[in-house]
Symmetry: C2
Subunit: 188 residues, 2 copies
């Protein structure tokens, strides 16, 4: 297949959507984010990039802590809202119920089925963003999304974001098992 150079814009893959919770200037604050990834297994670490002017980045720098709340498609509207409104202008925590785990400054949106408490260990300065490296301290989940104690994506019903078409998508068909379907190509 021929390939066309379409510039250096890079937005193409399905991104997870999370609501980041912080205590900023002493108050709970939330925003939506999609630039994050696991980076290390054991102990579990993740990396998340946030705009340096974000009220949320300010909170992480103040307390060293934050939480990720994973919405299901039932909270898609709420997650989108949390990304539309600025925390320094609107108190986004006012109308939602907060779940507090073991950390002081890592508020979780109770309506979201999964919450992940994180402790930032390193901050990397990017031109207009901070890349926070963080250790996962605890994961909390609503019983209804668990199968044998583990999070079940069919029950969680997460959604992903694609750009530049700016769309949220549910998961569709299961197309196979990882670390398995490729065995067909291994030569004896």
């Amino acid at each position: 297949m021929a390939k066309k150079n379409i510039g250096k814009h890079f937005d193409i893959y399905p991104m997870p959507v999370v609501i980041v919770g912080t205590i900023t200037d002493g108050k709970p604050n939330f925003m939506t984010a999609a630039w994050l990834t696991k980076i290390h297994s054991d102990p579990p670490f993740l990396a998340i990039s946030l705009g340096e002017r974000q009220y949320t980045a300010k909170g992480i720098r103040q307390t060293g802590e934050f939480a990720l709340s994973y919405p299901s498609i039932d909270q898609a509207e709420l997650a989108d809202y949390m990304g539309l409104v600025h925390g320094d202008r609107v108190d986004k925590a006012k109308d939602i119920e907060i779940f507090k785990g073991s950390l002081e400054s890592a508020p979780i949106v109770r309506a979201c089925p999964v919450g992940v408490e994180c402790r930032a260990t390193q901050t990397i300065d990017l031109p207009h963003d901070y890349l926070f490296i963080a250790e996962v301290v605890n994961v909390y989940a609503t019983e209804s999304v668990l199968t044998e104690g583990k999070i079940d994506p069919v029950k969680l019903r997460p959604f992903v974001l694609t750009m530049p078409d700016n769309s949220y998508w549910a998961l569709g068909d299961r197309i196979g098992s990882a670390w398995d379907i490729g065995r067909a190509l291994i030569k004896p």
Copy 2:
């Protein structure tokens, strides 16, 4: 909703699946990865975590370059295979056609509809992994996945990975527009 502490395991969100291409010890080499995220818009940067013992990590450290090939569900078996077999034991490049863009050491899997050339700018040492920070240099796409010059997820048909159930999923229903559906919750 009550929340249950399920430990600190963190694998839950849908992850993108890419095939990372490098030149390692002078030869093209590929592996599958899922721990990556965009971290900065303009100029476009991404972060990707790779095991420090990976042949792929070795290649990036040797040349400072790599490519990401984005498979569609048609290449799911190939992508899974690239993650099952070790590059220092099997020549995974032997049976595939390679597309070369502008960089010397960033081989793209031609069968994959999208290829992203990257130049590593910073390496962060993690206990058993390297987190590579990289600038996107060029994105190449097959015409058939473009709509008005931009990548169209409906045409690309990407897939995502969930763990610990180790499943690949196609995208399902479009559930709404980002930066839009949350407007319903903004108070006048």
